[in-house]
Symmetry: C2
Subunit: 258 residues, 2 copies
């Protein structure tokens, strides 16, 4: 038995054509599976329509109370429930969740950084309730998870979807006596980690930790790909059997992280 | 064992002070319980901020695709996840749902009326999966349900929260061999069904079906209260043990429908 945790980025879930392709592939994945999604572009767009400025630092969204309303509506409502409806139409018994629902993802509010940056209602993930997720999966339910959770004191928190997917994969892999492999797939618009972003044939088929250090030093891996790979290695070292970075048309291809 | 289905209207869930009072009372309710909520005022407000006109006919919102986005964000995201976070803070293991999640509420899109009115993405409820809800309740989970579901073909539908609460109460009451009573409480800003809306001492303590017909004829019951009472009698005739219409500070008071 293999448990598949698939994270899909904003550009895919926010384009109805790409989302349909992804969900067609997703429902074909055998065995228990979890979908984790983003939605940042729609959040930025809605914020703009409401006259709220989006500010990002290091790829993370500054989330004051106005922006928290936006991401709660977009991630927890609009994107999440539309994916669930599309999966139900494919006869997949999906359940939309955030980390606050049944308290499945634990987090704390990020403290003000040493540089004085206050990210607002942004959470750093501490863990997930793998057993509760496994019970849902065993009951034939497919969790579809939005990148929100809470601080336990009534405040919602905006969290990073890659980190959420990795934490969920690790939590399921850590269930005692599970006797199952857990795979984690980061699915986005490119065909994998590429040596040259302009050359679709330059996908790097495998990356280990020493390759990673070299590729970062060479400047091949930069920007948002660096934390994605750090999440991948964190998952592997915590018991996840395999991690891939690939696109929606090729869930078993792309770059294998080893 | 008593199962409590409590429906709370928009004016309560959209005021943080009133919501806090309601949730303090809600967590004190013994036994398995379900909260069904609205959120119409916030939807109207957000639509206005985005330049989208809200049109209501007979108390029901005309829901074109722009308005469906709004209610999906407000009901399924903003209102639902905030209630769940507030319940988790009170150590109640809440789970936010819409009818599309695990396909718990069945509906069909309302056809164009004989008068030629197209309500758009508005659903009429056909039933609910009482067994799935009971399984959640038995596992110690409190469902918090937003008035949205789907047509099975990938489209979300906006549905009436009172009807949803009634349907859920009936579905649980209809589980074979449940050996439990199901109570349904419609909780709103007034202390109950009132003979005179301006006189808080004029609450009618009990209403049966012949009282109802008389009160409608007398004009005491009108507007949104009429379908609320019709929902109440439908619930009683389908096996729900008791129905109340009351306010948040007095969940066991108000008007008992018999």
């Amino acid at each position: 038995m293999e448990y598949s945790i698939i994270k899909v980025g904003g550009a895919v879930v926010e384009d109805s054509g790409q989302l349909a392709i992804l969900l067609d592939e997703f429902v074909k994945v055998q065995g228990p599976k979890v979908l984790v999604h983003g939605g940042g572009r729609t959040a930025t767009q809605l914020a703009g329509q409401l006259g709220i400025e989006s500010r990002m630092i290091g790829g993370r969204r500054i989330t004051d109370s106005s922006m928290l309303r936006i991401v709660t509506m977009v991630y927890g409502g609009l994107v999440n429930k539309n994916i669930v409806a599309q999966l139900q139409a494919r006869r997949n018994n999906a359940l939309g969740l955030t980390g606050v629902d049944m308290n499945i993802v634990y987090a704390h509010r990020r403290p003000i950084t040493p540089e004085g940056i206050d990210f607002g209602y942004v959470g750093d993930v501490d863990g997930a309730d793998g057993l509760r997720l496994q019970q849902l999966l065993q009951a034939g339910v497919t969790p579809v998870i939005a990148p929100l959770t809470h601080d336990g004191a009534g405040n919602l928190l905006n969290i990073n979807a890659d980190t959420m997917a990795q934490t969920i994969a690790v939590a399921i892999a850590s269930i005692p006596d599970l006797n199952a492999k857990v795979s984690l797939t980061f699915c986005f618009e490119l065909p994998g980690v590429m040596r040259d972003a302009d050359n679709p044939d330059s996908v790097i088929s495998q990356i280990n930790e020493s390759d990673f250090k070299r590729l970062v030093a060479e400047g091949v891996i930069s920007g948002g790909m660096k934390p994605k790979l750090e999440n991948a290695f964190a998952a592997l070292s915590a018991g996840v059997a395999s991690v891939r970075i690939t696109n929606i048309r090729n869930l078993n291809g792309g770059t294998l992280i080893i």
